[in-house]
Symmetry: C2
Subunit: 407 residues, 2 copies
């Protein structure tokens, strides 16, 4: 038998993957599993946009242009206005999800062996994208103690070297829910300019900011038109993960041209998803406002429940729909597996994403867990009942007795 | 301004790309352009499948599993039965078009610097996929004189070395329309077995075979279950290029696992396209029969017209919807550009794909052209009127006078 490639064996796997089979077994045994492990919202995809898609009388489902239909790019460009960003449709490229967008950018902007700085913990698949493109990830650590705020400028500067080509952020952040402010981004901009770097920001959660702050897109940074690239997607904001539609937005014509060269190889982004994406962008703001309110209520409930549990260290996430919490356990991988394999509370258990895989630095995050609040309040509350009960009886808890509890 | 990567500058570009701006200009000047340059069929996407898609009441357009919905994989597996192939749904992975399938396979089966043998001329984007995955393409030349038949076994064996990991075919072939017979594939199978290689076959045109021959899928090769991988797509057969839905089919569990590892990074293939793909697979055979008849008539017309033109060397393509012809010109790149820039016949001209970019060996194909018969007979005939007239007046024709004409 011909063997598969060595690099395929080395693809960084999602922290959730190993647990999936345990979840299946738990379900097969009749237990309900609350899935707080993935970023798949339960909220309905806007029915009005789905209906418009149904009403199209499309005779031939043909290739779109490489960069997407002009009408779709126009809709995405217009949708940036509410964030104070004026972009031309030609500065928007439609991609097969933000996932493809990030891959296209790594190939377009980085030569093999060049480095990208990413604050950790970060979305685990960035590691895989970097491996495919042979780009080196240089992590700089953010900490739960200050709600995973953006590291200081000195932390970024410390790891910059002659191979550094860019800084990559996710704002608001998956997995931490951290929200990066305008002030912090403006400081970072000075560094980006000084070292002539790319500043690539994954803004797929920008519609989910809960503290009344204005989201500040890096596309508003003045004088950084050639450095700034934004990645976006309809997946999270419109609960349309399956559309596989994202965008790359930049005013740098060379980057657009390079992305187009790679993009032409795969011909075009998905056609039906593009049409849906266009209609989603054209919805009025009611949908987003309601979705944001819904997520805010969930966040508040989650935070209240977590802070009420002994030994759990949590913070109030400023955006996205994740919370990254520290649990009183030595090994969160084991705890998450134990939840699925051994634990049951009123016929149910929950699935969480262990924290270590979100760090590039070995040894970090071993007692941390990402919780996606993608279930309705009732289910989320039930899941928190399970968690509280589980932490109380987990045999490898670091809390030996009530008196030793940190909280 | 940060510079884009060197590798982005080196992405092999499609032969058509350079011509696109000339085509736009011709249209802007009011000329009709017959597009015989791309594999975008004009035939309607089956209305029955589009209607089924409309009728689905989908509340949340969520991620599918990495490998695609089980129902979709079942439909694709069942659709192989008419080719005498029995495969399990677990042996089918849904991909974002055949383009993604090929890329996933190059990463999964080849380490950087390893080699893949491909008969040339071949689909130009294979070069780009190989560049992305850092795989070396070893071309072996097929010739117009025998209708671009599969090269002999000795030709394959000559280029096999310790870095060779696989052979890649496209059957029926784009750009040549060549159809590879069961006998030839069975001979090749012996070689594949002997050298423990992968045999990867892009079968996206297998429904278009015009000579009454049975299409022989390599999935029917006995004893090669671990070596054979088939790539497929709904794009061409169902005129659904914009769905971006393809499949990888193999009985090699390690390859499926490796593909899944890479596939997980991009989460899932397009959801709406998957549903459409499922419905397309479930159509009765009428659509395919009619489409095949239509393409056969176009092929016959094209062949009749080409062989009636002075100095044009053509052959009757056995499958797909392309013909690769030799023209009495020194430089087909120039001729194709001249068609768009300088030529007009009854207010129209045509766009063709110059041949050289379909070869990996420099200097080959410079007087050859790919013609996609993706227009209806009336338009195709009109386009051939243009071509005949153009060849007669092209100032750089290699035919100096009628008496020198080869045909």
């Amino acid at each position: 038998m011909p063997s598969i490639s060595q690099r395929a064996l080395e693809v960084p796997l999602s922290p959730i993957r190993k647990l999936a089979s345990y979840a299946e077994r738990a379900k097969a045994m009749g237990r309900k599993v609350y899935h707080l492990n993935i970023g798949q919202p339960d909220i309905e995809t806007p029915a009005a946009a789905m209906q418009r898609l149904r009403e199209i009388d499309l005779k031939v489902l043909e290739y779109s242009p490489t960069e997407g239909w002009l009408s779709t790019r126009k809709a995405f460009a217009r949708s940036m206005k509410k964030f104070g960003v004026q972009v031309d449709p030609d500065e928007v490229t439609v991609t097969t999800g933000a996932s493809e967008g990030i891959q296209l950018l790594l190939f377009s902007c980085f030569n093999p062996g060049e480095e990208i700085i990413i604050p950790e913990p970060f979305y685990a698949n960035y590691n895989g994208f970097a491996q495919i493109a042979d780009v080196v990830v240089r992590p700089i650590t953010s900490y739960i103690e200050n709600g995973f705020a953006l590291p200081g400028i000195a932390d970024f500067e410390r790891v910059i070297n002659e191979r550094t080509r860019g800084i990559f952020l996710n704002n608001p952040n998956n997995p931490t829910g951290a929200f990066y402010s305008r002030e912090m981004l403006e400081q970072l901009a000075l560094l980006v300019k000084q070292y002539n770097l790319y500043l690539i920001v994954d803004e797929v959660y920008r519609d989910f900011c809960y503290e009344g702050q204005d989201f500040f897109s890096v596309l508003r940074l003045e004088g950084l038109e050639d450095n700034v690239i934004v990645v976006d997607s309809v997946s999270k904001k419109f609960s349309a993960c399956g559309a596989r539609i994202g965008t790359i937005i930049t005013r740098n014509p060379d980057v657009l041209e390079a992305v187009s060269r790679y993009g032409k190889l795969r011909l075009s982004p998905p056609g039906l998803g593009q049409l849906l994406g266009e209609f989603l962008c054209e919805l009025d703001d009611n949908y987003m406002d309601e979705a944001q309110d819904e997520y805010r209520r969930r966040r508040d409930l989650l935070y209240r429940r977590l802070t009420g549990m002994k030994g759990v260290q949590a913070y109030l996430p400023g955006g996205a729909f994740y919370c990254f919490a520290k649990f009183p356990v030595e090994n969160a991988d084991h705890f998450c597996q134990w939840l699925l394999e051994e634990f049951e509370h009123e016929g149910a258990t929950l699935m969480l994403a262990p924290g270590a895989a979100f760090y590039a630095t070995p040894g970090l995050g071993t007692d941390e867990v990402r919780i996606a609040y993608v279930l309705n309040e009732h289910d989320l509350d039930k899941a928190m009942d399970c968690l509280e009960q589980a932490l109380a009886i987990y045999p490898y808890s670091t809390i030996k007795s009530y008196s030793e509890a940190k909280v």
